[in-house]
Symmetry: none
Subunit: 400 residues, 2 copies
């Protein structure tokens, strides 16, 4: 459903929706057992929930497309990630909860190592510590730039965010990151005439930064990529008539949620903390996005057993989740992260929705094989919210 | 398939297609038995047909979207209801078989009750009788309007159709219906400059009508909404190279069918009448849309048992339907009307197609659970006709 139709059909109401995202949920069979992470885990509560739910798989972007965290979440929030595109720099800024303003231009930065001839030998500067990254950012922040305010914010290890704030800035600036080693960093160039002034500012910063960093090997220079502005999107309250809140421990997910108008509530690292936050704020909001990160982390690390254990940790929390009594509960993933791939993947993502007025289906367990017998089939993730709204009595009829 | 591609690929032929629509077909489980209306009904003929058919579910508009009768039928006729939109007033006029012409502007009217201060106290005027509605319309019709011909046609109870006919009219006029009680009706206002002359005509009519109705409590004034023109759509013969006929007892469905160029054949209230009409006209047409209303009526009334009985009535007629020997037979619904909701709903709609060259699937009964094993899955209703045309040998190859 596109945003305009959603805006036309959505109505406020007193029903509560809860989207519980297990990051990187979907998996693939272990080469020895032939069973996926979900099939390997002991999940009596998730399986019982599957029996009461409408089951299927979501396609985050399109068949064959491996989504990043941004698109994977936006589609679950009801925003088509092919239309609602966020530049890398803006995502990175939003991801550390930086207060990115509409006139700002942000880029993702890497500290890196160059050799005597200026050629990149390590795009990640040996993954310097986050503490070292913080120290370097503090020095870079002092570089005087005429015509714009400068922010250089550490992210983690060699990563930082570069932000210019001022009038007349543009994101029409090409990456300085050559994306491979053995060649020199590229000069900052405008990709359109309106980017020329900004490209000059960036060039001045890069020159000064090289002087500051010259003796600080392995972090003896930097690369910038993904120059972007903060996107200006309609909010979930405008489009879907929801009062939405995010309960996410990691800044990236809070940042994404805020881009669609969610209020980011305080959230500790544990599931119990998140559930307590929802419980305490239940009256103030009618839509909660709860984020659980550790299934993805284990998948990215290629740690099949740990991903299984994290799934079982979620399973144990399901009764407390149900005690929140959402009218519609969605258990979903933003993408698959099969441990055997140790990376995000394009595979459809397990999904179930417990709601009033679902039809009976044959699915009796929450895993990649059983869900194939679900009534929802494999459907675009962007349709999950409209479907949930329908079951919550929050979508009016189309046409007479 | 969009209209342009359909126009490009469709070819005439001597095969016959029959679309049998059971209005409001889809259901939900009864809270006691756990079985839907279709599962509860004894349907040996429909089940036998399902075993010979390709089975699945149609999505009339989009996931989560509850369709009105207009969109629900248009998609089965091969017209994307998000692109082929019909205004409320035009649908209402078409729905009483009013001969709406291209230059006309139509609106849906309600007789309503206002209190001494002019505030609406009952938007439906206590649902006056259809007879009384007819009398009031006859009086309103006499109001003299300079510059346009006036039609005021009774629909049912408090509902009527208001039509202006003349040169230079526009449908850019806002509703006078405030959509809630306790406030005054809104003045007719133009929503664009081209609507100003029409808005003045409407205002003059409303003024006069208030004088005529003042003493006729509860119907002491009126509300107008959904100003619209007759849509100008390509016909099924132009797009799909069909010679189509509609066999529908209710004027709404005949009206919709005529908007896409079908010839509306005489149809009695019973299934036998409809089948006889198809039999008699079999040589003149190659596409028949047969409409069966009573499954929807029972569903809307929340009468689970009656809906079951109506399904069984259809089942008994299946042998006569098959005796018409259509090359392609589709049994479909325009939307779901689960008796437990007593309203249209967003749930995918049972569908089967008996045709040459279908693949075998596991579905052995015509109900919401068995159909989940069908080979067609859940697919957009607008794709049903192209699929049927393919099986009827009426679509040529795309590309060399």
């Amino acid at each position: 459903m596109d945003i305009d139709l959603a805006r036309q059909l959505s109505v406020p109401g007193d029903t509560k929706l809860l989207l519980f995202v297990m990051d990187g949920l979907g998996g693939l069979p272990h080469p020895e057992s032939g069973r996926t992470e979900l099939e390997s885990a002991r999940t009596p509560n998730l399986d019982s929930l599957a029996r009461e739910s409408a089951c299927g798989f979501t396609l985050p972007v399109a068949p064959g497309v491996t989504p990043g965290s941004g698109p994977g979440h936006l589609s679950l929030f009801g925003y088509d990630p092919l239309k609602f595109n966020i530049g890398r720099g803006a995502l990175e800024a939003v991801g550390i909860d930086f207060d990115l303003r509409p006139q700002d231009v942000a880029a993702r930065g890497n500290f890196c190592t160059v050799d005597g001839k200026g050629r990149v030998t390590d795009r990640r500067a040996g993954r310097i510590t986050s503490e070292r990254c913080g120290e370097l950012c503090e020095e870079l922040r002092k570089i005087p730039l005429e015509g714009a305010e400068l922010f250089v914010e550490p992210v983690r290890e060699h990563r930082f965010v570069f932000v210019l704030r001022g009038d007349g800035l543009s994101d029409a600036v090409a990456d300085t990151d050559p994306q491979r080693e053995g060649t020199e960093p590229l000069p900052p160039r405008a990709t359109a005439p309106e980017g020329e002034a900004t490209a000059r500012l960036v060039a001045r910063f890069v020159d000064e930064a090289q002087r500051v960093l010259a003796a600080k090997t392995p972090a003896n220079t930097l690369l910038l990529r993904g120059f972007a502005r903060r996107p200006d999107w309609p909010s979930m309250s405008d489009v879907f008539k929801l009062t939405p809140a995010a309960v996410a421990h990691y800044p990236m997910y809070r940042g994404l949620a805020k881009l669609v108008g969610m209020e980011a509530l305080p959230a500790g690292p544990g599931l119990d903390d998140s559930i307590a936050t929802v419980r305490e704020n239940r009256d103030q909001f009618d839509y909660f996005f709860m984020h659980y990160k550790y299934t993805d982390t284990a998948g990215e690390d290629g740690d099949f057993e740990r991903k299984v254990a994290k799934i079982e940790e979620v399973d144990a929390a399901i009764p407390s989740l149900l005690a929140l009594k959402p009218d519609v509960l969605m258990v979903a993933g933003d993408h698959s992260t099969p441990a055997v791939l140790a990376a995000h993947s394009w595979h459809p993502v397990p999904f179930m929705m417990r709601a009033p007025w679902t039809r009976t289906d044959a699915c009796d367990a929450f895993n990649e094989v059983a869900l194939q017998t679900g009534s929802l089939g494999t459907f675009p993730a962007v349709e999950a919210l409209p479907l949930a709204l329908a079951h919550a009595g929050r979508l009016t009829k189309y046409g007479a």
